[in-house]
Symmetry: C3
Subunit: 211 residues, 3 copies
């Protein structure tokens, strides 16, 4: 049972790192980047957020302890480089967006947990760690290729992550005995909001946009 | 007496964090950012410089030990989001610029002291820590919203910080018994130079601009 | 003998830090930056990559232990600020590009070694540390002055570094007894590829560019 759960988490992790790296290939396309740059952007998108998190937490770097994160990012971005037409197929692109959502949700909530266990500035700081881990790599990718960062996008990408992390941290704070449930609920909600954004073009509501 | 000094420093800190966060609201306005992004930019502007400082120093993150920094940044940027017209009133904007100056001066000199006490690469490195702490958050804000960073501005913003930190570090090095005085002098000078910049449009002199 | 090798390495280090800082002066010229900004960009270009490396490795900051890195960057960028016409002379510019290449090669391979000795995520992570150390500062410089980062350039700059670090890490992994030789070979190869780029305008081959 536990072994199965662990295997599932490992599978989502690998697919998610891959989806993050492939998003960098598509983003790099506009700039006619070379293979090396595509791989660098793939790695940064995949592990950049978690890298900032671990520097802030002052803990050993996760990808030095588990180098498969780096290998998966390198292999995926190299594969993506040579198979751009495949990536741009409507169905492949959509599948990638969904895998990205699942990984985004899981990585953010895991990071909230990681900071919580370290008793890192409860209850607010673990929420920030969750957000940084989820979207930090994508923001770095956007800055490095000089396109408006995902923070400036009307698409629902970072906001669902924030909502999920707030919910999970609130439960950890107020009713820690339900934290397993809240982790699943938060992950589910992030994925659902991303789904509404991907399939229904749901955007940030007008009242929440700076005029 | 000491209690009063401490209360004053706490008050300036809270007002200063708030002023930093509000500067992000005004900067984000050009980009029609959403509420979540405004809050993120507010937090980054308020504590980004100190975050880099603590990562470089290898010490526990200040805002995890004192989470009120984050709360003040969140509340201020949320308030600013809903009250942009108020922020843009001439007198409010000017008051904010002055509070920003006072905080900028205090945070930079405090950071120089923090690095000095840690014996961190004396005498030059504490100066760098002061500058990074004071202007690092604003630079990140500018990069994230894709506007020319404050480093490229002719306005006197970072240069007064550098002058103040150099003076304070010099006294710490050469005549440490006067360091309390030099901290106050340096803070006063930074505020005065910012005042000349805000009220008299004093700029970097022509000889100091790259031709 | 050893003393001589050490002196040579120190000399290359100082010249290299200087060449990195001077590249920032030339880059800052387009933006009419002021003296303070030129110095800040000089320091960031010179030590920015190594700073990220040391934060990721979780080790004391190299420039706090050896502050001459900072002094050399400050002096070089100040000198460069006042002598831009000299820097732009064809022969000076070319000499600077070659010194930059030598330092780029040496710093990257040294960083790979540093991470290797720390047993940091072998064998892949030391390669990343080498690349970050070599090109990280230049990338930060480009982001801060809002020009397309060197990662988006067709010039061979980061790719030779990657090739050199991969070769050296492979030998460290498979045949550590030859690591002194491989360090020299890798450094030589990086310099040679940079030479082909500077003198023959060798670029990334077309098959390795994203279409």
């Amino acid at each position: 049972m536990y072994a199965n759960t662990d295997s599932l988490i490992d599978l989502i992790t690998i697919l998610g790192i891959s989806a993050f790296a492939l998003s960098a290939v598509l983003a790099a396309r506009e700039k006619k980047a070379d293979l090396f740059t595509v791989i660098v952007l793939g790695i940064i998108t995949a592990v950049g957020g978690g890298t900032v998190r671990d520097c802030i937490l002052g803990v050993p770097m996760f990808w030095a302890e588990h180098t498969y994160f780096i290998w998966v990012a390198i292999i995926s971005s190299t594969f993506g480089f040579f198979c751009v037409p495949l990536l741009e197929k409507r169905i492949v692109n959509k599948a990638n967006l969904y895998i990205d959502s699942i990984a985004l949700a899981m990585f953010s909530i895991q990071a909230t947990d990681k900071a919580w266990v370290l008793d890192f500035g409860l209850p607010i700081s673990p929420i920030l760690m969750g957000i940084i881990t989820g979207v930090g790599g994508g923001v770095m990718r956007d800055v490095l290729i000089q396109r408006p960062s995902l923070l400036l996008n009307k698409e629902l990408y970072a906001t669902p992550v924030a909502i999920g992390c707030v919910i999970h941290a609130s439960v950890l704070y107020l009713a820690p005995e339900f934290s397993d449930v809240s982790a699943l609920v938060a992950i589910g909600l992030i994925i659902y909001l991303r789904h509404l954004s991907i399939s229904r073009q749901l955007q940030v509501p007008a009242w929440a946009v700076l005029k």
